[in-house]
Every structure is written in C-alpha cells, then in structure tokens.
C-alpha cells in the first residue's frame, strides 16, 4: 500500500518535471539509435567512399564525410551503440565491484575496513584521468581497455558511498531487530542492508553514466582507447582534429553534439531522480 502510494507519487513528480522528461526522451532516443543502428544508418560505418573524401554535409551524406570518405552520420549512429555499451558495462562493473567491496568493508569493519579505506584514499588522490590513461596504455587500445579503465577509477566512489550508507543503515532498529531474532550476518547483509542502501547508489549510477561516456570518449580522443578508425564518438573527434586546419567542422562537430546530448540526457534524468529520492525534498 505504502509502496503503491510512493510509486504513483514518483510518476506524478516525473510528469511534473519537464526537464526530467526531456532527459528521459533523449536517453530513450539514444538507446533506440543504438539498437536500430543497422536500420538507421544509410551506410556501413567503415565503408570508405574514396570519391567523396572530406565532403561537407549534403543530401547524400547528411553530416558530411571524413578524410577517408566515411559517412559521418552512419558512424555517429553506430557509435551510439558502442559508446552506450562501453558506458553501461563500465558503470555496471564499477557499481557491482565497488558496492560489494564497500559493503564488505563496512560490514566487516576492523582492520580490514581501515586498510581498505586507506587504499581507497590513495586511489582517489590519484588524478582519475591520469590513472585511466595509465591503465588504458598498459592494456593497449581496444574496447575492453576503455571499459576497464573507466570502471576502475570509479570503484572507490561506489565503495565509499555503499560503505557510508551501510554504516548508517546498520544502526537502524530494523537491522538490530533482524539480528536479535537470530538471522545470520550474511543474510542480514544481502537481504536487509544492501537493498536498503541501493537507492543512493542507483541515483549515483545514473549521474555517473553520463560521466562514463565523457571519460571513455576522452580516452579514445587521446588515442588510448578505442582504435582509429572504429566508429566511436571520441575517436571521431580525434580524427576530426586532424582535419581541423582545413576547416572541416562537420568531422568533429556532430560526434561532439551526440556526446553532449547523450550526457545531457543522463544528467537530466539523474538530477530528476536525485530530487525525487532526496528525503529532504520529498517531505515538502
């Protein structure tokens, strides 16, 4: 009953908030592009039209072509698939690994917790992009590399968040009650603590999604991520940079717009969600 009320209220407030709806629309649109890329894109993203090199947008090539004569529109659409896949996987990995480690650390406490948190301190003092660059270079270019590098730098954040929410939940009466009736610790952890601490973690994940796209595209842009000439937004901007002096603005503008739009979508949804789930705002 209470849950139903809460749900209908969430729906109501989403409807009340046009920017969250806009964000949701963008996100759905991008996922649509990713799923239907083969049907949306007019050309193969890697097909080189040698008689149409570096052409500005035209009826034949809606967003122009790059220096190899590849159709930018088709590449941008296919890149949606790759970038969303990278970001989703990276967010999922850092969320699961970080939360589990954080939960374990918070639950066990003691010297393990102490050591673990010091390690997280160190990892967080490490400039994240530089750490990602190092990891990316160590693994060599590729999709897998970007996923690992992007997720690794975010594990400490999730671990911290999970641990702190867990520690506050741990003091709650319902946990003490569950313990008092003799539930085993692992059961309390998985049945009671983790589900209750999950809300802030999930809100964080939505906001993090956009950030992961930026990070992944940045790595590829620097030449440390997805290899040229694959259809990935960061790679495309990097390739556009080669053409910068010729004034071929379309080569980097469109992929950048797609990154910005996607990230914007996720940020709007994330903002909306955190507003919704923020207990302080909900009380009003």
């Amino acid at each position: 009953m209470l849950k139903r009320v809460a749900q209908s209220e969430v729906l109501y407030r989403i409807k009340q908030n046009p920017t969250t709806l806009l964000g949701l629309g963008i996100v759905i649109f991008m996922f649509g592009l990713a799923v239907f890329a083969p049907w949306v894109a007019p050309y193969d993203p890697l097909e080189k039209h040698f008689d149409h090199v570096s052409e500005p947008p035209s009826r034949q090539f809606w967003m122009g072509t790059d220096q190899f004569g590849q159709d930018i529109f088709s590449r941008v659409v296919w890149a949606a698939r790759l970038d969303l896949f990278i970001a989703a996987t990276a967010v999922a990995i850092s969320l699961v690994v970080g939360s589990l480690l954080g939960a374990l650390s918070g639950y066990l406490g003691g010297w393990f917790d102490e050591m673990f948190m010091r390690l997280m301190d160190i990892l967080q003092a490490f400039p994240s992009l530089i750490l990602a660059m190092g990891i990316a270079f160590a693994l060599g270019p590729g999709v897998f590399t970007v996923i690992v590098a992007t997720s690794a730098v975010n594990i400490p954040g999730y671990a911290r968040l999970m641990r702190s929410t867990l520690l506050s939940e741990k003091q709650r009466t319902y946990v003490l009650a569950a313990r008092a009736v003799g539930n085993p610790p692992w059961r309390i952890l998985f049945r009671h603590l983790i589900p209750n601490a999950l809300t802030p973690v999930l809100v964080n994940a939505t906001l993090h999604f956009g950030w992961a796209i930026l990070e992944a595209a940045g790595l590829s842009f620097l030449g440390l991520g997805v290899a040229v000439p694959n259809a990935e937004w960061g790679v495309m901007i990097n390739m556009g940079l080669q053409d910068f002096w010729q004034g071929h603005w379309w080569a980097y503008t469109f992929p950048g717009v797609f990154i910005a739009l996607t990230v914007l979508g996720f940020n709007l949804v994330g903002d909306g969600l955190s507003d919704l789930l923020d207990p302080r705002r909900a009380r009003q």
């Binding site: 301190d121 160190i122 003092a125 530089i130 440390l224 950048g256």
Partner: protein, 338 residues
C-alpha cells in the same frame, strides 16, 4: 602555533598517501608494455650498451629495490631520475611544465568561480523562477559538453572563422620570448617585468583553453552554490534575522552566503583537483606545454621516471589542495577545531 602543529600533523598523515600513489605509479609503469630501453636506444645499439643503459636506469634490479632507491634519491637529493625522452632531470622538466598547467587551471577555475557563484546565488534567491531554471539548464549543459570538443568548437569559431584568438600552439606566439622567469606564470611575470605586449599575448593564448575548462567546471560549482544557498536561506537563523528585520544584503551575504561558503569551497577543491588531471584534454588540443601533455607523452613512450614524477607532483598538489581546504574551513567556521 596550534595551526602550525595541525599542518605538521596533517603533512605527516599525507606521507602514506603519497607513498601509496607513488607505489601504484611504480607498479603501473612496470606492467606497461614495451621496454623503454629498446625504445630509447633504437635498433642499432649493441647488446652491451643496452645492458649498461638498463643498469643505469636500475631496471635490472628487483622491483622493491628500484622503489627503495628511487625514494632515497628523492628524499636526499630531490632527484626523480632522468627522463628517457627529454634526457633532462625529471625535476627540471616538471618545474618547466607545471607553471603552464597551473596558470591555465588558475585562469579556468577563476573564470568558473566568477561565473558560477553569482549564477548560483541568483538562482537560490529566485528559486523556481525563470532565472533559476535558466541557470540550471546552463549548468547541466555545461557539465554535459566534452571539454575537448568544446575547445575545438571554440577554436573553429574564434580562431579559424573570426580570427580573434591566436592559433592553438602554446602559451605565446613563436616569435615572442617568455618574460623573465619569476613564477613561471607568464601573465604574472610579464606584468612584473612591465612587458605589456607579452602580457596581452599570453592572456589571449590563455583565453580559449581557460574558457573551455571554466565551462565544464562551472556546473558543479553553480549547483552547489545554489543548493547551499537555498539551504542556508531556509535555515532558522535566516528566519530569525528576517524576524529582526535585518536588511536583505546582510541576510544574503553575512548569513546565507557565509554559511554556504564551506560546501562551495569543498566542491571547488574537488573540481580543482579534477581539473589538474582533466586538463590534459585541453592541453592536447591547444598544444599547451603543460604537465598533462607531458604525462600523456611519458605514458605513450614508457618514460618511467617521467610518469612517476608527474603523478607524484599532481597527487601532491591534489592533497595540498585538500589541506588548504581544511585550513580555510577552520578559518571560516569557529566550530571546527584545528
């Protein structure tokens, strides 16, 4: 005196963090693919010569001995080894590059603060008004735009098309020599030396990269300013101040903003710290001869000493920012004991 003791205690606590990062940097470089000696030496150097180079770089020793010796050199002589690529002491390389990055980040962050804080305050004062919504949109768009793409677009418009900005080839035009070295920040040094033309050239070279950095840094600052101001404005003490009829400017600045400053500073430290690493994307586009580009090149060429030195420097600056933050908070908030 108490402050000094506090700083010393904090510095002591920083040592393990720095050691930890250095250790990770060491470990990461050692698992990097590619033998740096082969790369530096090229194919025409004899095997004996290679061995000698390897010994000199201590790469023949076990990992822990390399780490220990590096630390010993660092602590006793301030020596971070010699870069394989520039053939200069890493310490000297870093001292050359760091001011370039620092100047860029300072201008970028300064600009972000100047734009974001009034925006956040205005949004909070006119909560749920068009101003607030517009501010929110600006902030969320700013944080969604990839900084490297923004740099390119700005360059296209202001350099290629309008020709207002100088080309993206570093801190000064090639025809101009840097001002006499005092701080390494060209704009400041040029002012100190009274070289107006150098100052103007350095400033116009800074403009686009600094704006790029500022746009992305603005969003979290503006958002935090807004929410901290809203919270303070809804507090009991602001209500009490209103009930006493204190004038609006006193309530906004002495009551709300003063209390909002602490969370704003905290976010600012985070943004600043992130910018120190993220600046590499901007330096890459503008060929800015800073620390980020140096680190990128060092990673790409397996230049172990350079990577270690750069990471150590950036983390040190990073942890110092947080130390400064804590000192600033202690200075503002009487409840915080130093």
């Amino acid at each position: 005196m108490r402050v000094l003791r506090y700083v010393l205690r904090r510095l002591a606590l920083l040592v393990p963090v720095l050691l930890g990062t250095l250790f990770i940097a060491f470990f990461l470089t050692r698992v990097l693919p590619g033998n740096p000696i082969d790369r530096v030496a090229g194919p025409y150097i004899s095997q004996e010569k290679r061995e000698a180079m390897k010994r000199e770089a201590r790469l023949d020793l076990p990992f822990y001995q390399q780490f220990y010796l590096y630390l010993a050199d660092l602590v006793t002589k301030g020596d971070m080894g010699t870069s394989y690529t520039t053939a200069q002491p890493v310490t000297r390389d870093l001292l050359q590059r760091f001011p370039a990055t620092l100047e860029l980040v300072l201008y970028g962050m300064g600009l972000a603060v100047v734009l974001a804080i009034p925006l956040g305050v205005l949004s909070a004062l006119h909560k749920d008004s068009p101003v607030d919504h517009a501010g929110r949109v600006i902030a969320v768009v700013g944080v969604s735009v990839p900084v490297f793409w923004l740099g390119l677009v700005l360059l296209y418009v202001f350099f290629l098309k309008l020709q207002w900005a100088p080309p993206p080839i570093g801190r000064l035009p090639p025809t101009m020599s840097p001002p006499p070295h005092v701080t390494g920040l060209y704009t400041l040094d040029a002012l100190l030396a009274g070289q107006w033309d150098v100052f103007k050239a350095a400033l116009s070279a800074l403009a686009l990269p600094a704006v790029s950095l500022a746009v992305t840094a603005m969003a979290p600052l503006a958002r935090m300013t807004r929410s901290a101001m809203v919270e303070a404005l809804e507090s009991e003490y602001v209500r009490a101040a209103r009930a006493l009829g204190l004038p609006q400017h006193v309530i906004i600045w002495d009551y709300a903003f003063r209390n909002a400053v602490i969370p704003i500073l905290t976010i600012f430290a985070g943004v600043f710290g992130y910018a120190l690493g993220g600046v590499v994307l901007v330096e890459f586009i503008f060929s800015w001869p800073g620390l980020g580009l140096y680190t990128l090149n060092a990673i790409l060429s397996s230049d172990f000493p350079a990577i270690q030195g750069a990471i150590l420097l950036v983390t040190t600056v990073y942890v110092f920012i947080y130390l400064l933050l804590d000192l600033a908070v202690a200075a503002i908030d009487p409840r915080v004991e130093v």
